[in-house]
């Protein structure tokens, strides 16, 4: 899989896609977009990068295990939900405040949580599949027939 074209473009595409995913995440505030689609795009970027560079480098670049990213995302989403409850409103009610002229609130925090969960879960599965295929190609695992 690791051709020159893929390696060169993979890095570039990864960077662009990750940036674009952040745009998508923030855009979801008022327009189509949001945490889920942003997370998918980000995961896709990382996977394309890893196809060129190998999943080991992708994992090293991430620094955090994908599953831990997912767990952190779940925690962030829970905090977003709980903060409304602590303010005496029903769970998941949006709390808003104005920072420098723009509205910031718990829904965006929740979206960030979704974003992280999607990245974590998708990467955990895709990288595992990729490494699995890699082991077969390298002949490390025998295929019975």
């Amino acid at each position: 899989m690791s051709t020159l074209i893929l390696r060169t473009m993979g890095r570039l595409l990864a960077a662009v896609l990750i940036l674009f995913s952040l745009y998508m995440l923030l855009r979801g505030h008022n327009d189509p977009g949001g945490g889920f689609i942003g997370g998918l795009i980000c995961a896709l970027g990382i996977v394309i990068g890893s196809l060129g560079e190998g999943s080991r480098r992708a994992r090293r670049a991430l620094r955090i295990a994908p599953r831990l990213i997912a767990a952190a995302g779940l925690a962030v989403a829970l905090i977003a939900g709980f903060s409304a409850a602590l303010a005496g409103k029903p769970f998941l009610t949006g709390l808003w405040m104005t920072v420098g002229g723009s509205h910031v609130g718990t829904p965006i925090l929740f979206d960030v949580g979704v974003y992280l969960v999607v990245i974590g879960a998708t990467l955990a599965l895709l990288l595992a599949l990729e490494e699995d295929a890699g082991r077969v190609n390298a002949g490390e695992v025998e295929e019975e027939e």
């Binding site: 831990l68 779940l74 829970l78 409850a85 029903p90 769970f91 998941l92």
Partner: protein, 505 residues
């Protein structure tokens, strides 16, 4: 604590616990996730008991998630049935979590077993507490994904194979569920169950409503493993670790039964003769096939799996008869069954630990070696068969009385005969595993010694569940009162509807 807290904590707690267990597993001591698991389920038990007492005192409770009023937002609502189910979920969850401390190996724990387990519990309680059909679908999926991962985690051959059987058929069920939701929304424009109760009365399309009802029946039928849709259950429940089998046996099919009870008392009551007629036939067939399937098996967990199916028949029978007494029986049976079934799987697991196998021809001599285990087996086993004075006796008695009341002689006869056959299966396990000597001689029993900590973790939950069975059996009145209130609410859901649609609290 306010009702708002009590309603969402049973769902939010296990999610928070899952995150904590996962992070603790990464960062800290390898035993940390276990303790997080036990602590979370213990807290859940406490909160759910508070919820039940609040519902008992003040009637059904509801909150609107995110402050969006019903029927537009998602409503969490607890009536007696919902609250009781949450209590039982938390209790059995706690028992199995303790058991898992000695049952789940380090490899599985490292892969996040405890976190997945808590997510599964969150899915189950979510399904019991939601007041919205689509939200129910989402909880079913949460449950499906978590249970599927638990089933294949650690992945030996049999587990992967069983996982495929499980997930393929359950996928079909969720797809049917979604289809039914789509059609129902197209027909009524709402998915809030209380709102549906009101709206469906004004819809003049009886044929279409019945079609949708039967689609739901199919979807939940697969989930609750009724005849003829049960094939996934005995094909997969015997492959994972005992703790997984036990929690699946206790809760998963019962969520399907709960959904059936909820929908066919609150939403689809227009053509009771037709829908509940089907249910009654299904109930009878489920009881018979389940118990006969069990008689043909020779492996402890497979016998118990088939008995889940036959017991589901009793609960569906209670729903199908659709009288106050029958529904009382169904609710009582649900509670009794969850505790007994989880316990039997746990005892089976201990027996395997001591004798080395689940195959009945390979084991024996347990009575001589561990008489206390024999007693702990007999309590849930006899209760399952309906021997007085244990919980199963009252459950069966109420149901049979209800069927005699409406002169449904056939189903009453079936229920009695199936009870007898259950005794046969239980005595088979008793004779083979406990009474006859071990085929490899007495020395083979207890060849693998358990440490003291392991013994406590394995036996304490069994003792807890067995004592609940005995308590229900000896003092059934408070539990019958609870079930009676619940049946009353189910047949006259005005209070439930009012509290959901009454706007913001």
């Amino acid at each position: 604590m306010s009702a708002a807290w009590l309603l969402f904590l049973p769902i939010a707690l296990p999610f928070a616990g899952a995150v904590l267990a996962f992070i603790a597993g990464r960062a800290g001591d390898r035993r940390a996730p276990q303790w997080v698991n036990v602590g979370t389920t213990a807290l859940m038990t406490l909160v759910s008991l508070l919820l039940l007492s609040a519902v008992w005192r003040d009637g059904p409770q509801a909150i609107q998630m995110g402050g969006w009023a019903a029927p537009f937002g998602i409503t969490l609502v607890a009536d007696i049935l919902g609250a009781v189910m949450v209590v039982i979920t938390a209790l059995s969850g706690l028992a199995v979590a303790v058991y898992a401390m000695a049952d789940i190996d380090e490899g599985r724990a490292k892969l996040g077993w405890h976190a997945l387990y808590l997510v599964l519990l969150a899915g189950v309680t979510g399904a019991f507490l939601t007041g919205d059909l689509f939200n129910l679908y989402v909880w079913f999926e949460v449950m499906l994904i978590a249970s599927f991962c638990l089933l294949v985690l650690g992945g030996d051959k049999a587990q992967l194979d069983g996982g495929l059987r499980y997930v393929a058929l359950n996928l079909v069920a969720t797809v049917m569920f979604l289809m039914a939701i789509g059609l129902l929304y197209g027909l009524t424009g709402t998915l809030n169950m209380a709102d549906l109760h009101v709206t469906l009365k004004t819809v003049d399309a009886p044929g279409l409503v019945t079609t949708i009802a039967v689609l739901f029946l199919g979807a939940f039928g697969i989930k609750s493993a009724v005849f003829p849709l049960f094939f996934w259950l005995p094909a997969s429940y015997h492959v994972p670790p005992v703790a997984v089998s036990a929690i699946f046996a206790a809760l998963l099919t019962k969520v399907g039964v709960y959904a059936l009870i909820r929908l066919f008392t609150l939403v689809f009551t227009a053509d009771v003769d037709y829908t509940h007629g089907i249910l009654l036939v299904i109930a009878g067939a489920t009881m018979v096939t389940g118990v006969l399937g069990a008689a043909a098996q020779n492996q402890v967990r497979k016998i118990l799996s088939f008995h889940i199916i036959s017991q589901i028949g009793y609960m569906v029978m209670g729903l199908a008869l659709y009288t106050p007494l029958a529904l009382l029986g169904a609710v009582f049976y649900l509670v009794h069954h969850i505790i007994v079934k989880a316990n039997l799987f746990l005892v089976g697991g201990v027996a395997k630990r001591i004798t080395g196998s689940f195959e009945l021809d390979r084991i024996g001599g347990l009575y001589k070696a561990k008489p206390w285990l024999a007693v702990l087996f007999l309590i849930p086993a006899l209760s399952l068969a309906g021997i007085p004075p244990l919980s199963g006796f009252w459950a069966k008695l109420v149901l049979i009385e209800a069927s005699l009341e409406v002169e449904a002689w056939v189903i009453a006869g079936v229920a009695l005969v199936v009870g007898l056959l259950t005794v046969f299966s239980m005595s088979k396990i008793w004779l083979e595993a406990f009474w006859k000597p071990h085929p490899d001689g007495d020395a083979a029993v207890g060849a693998v010694a358990l440490t003291r900590g392991e013994t406590v973790a394995l036996v304490a939950p069994i003792v807890l569940l067995a004592s609940i069975t005995v308590i229900i059996g000896l003092a059934p009145q408070p539990f019958l009162d609870l079930a009676a209130r619940s049946a009353q609410e189910l047949l006259a859901p005005e209070a439930y509807v009012r509290v959901v649609l009454g706007g913001l609290p």
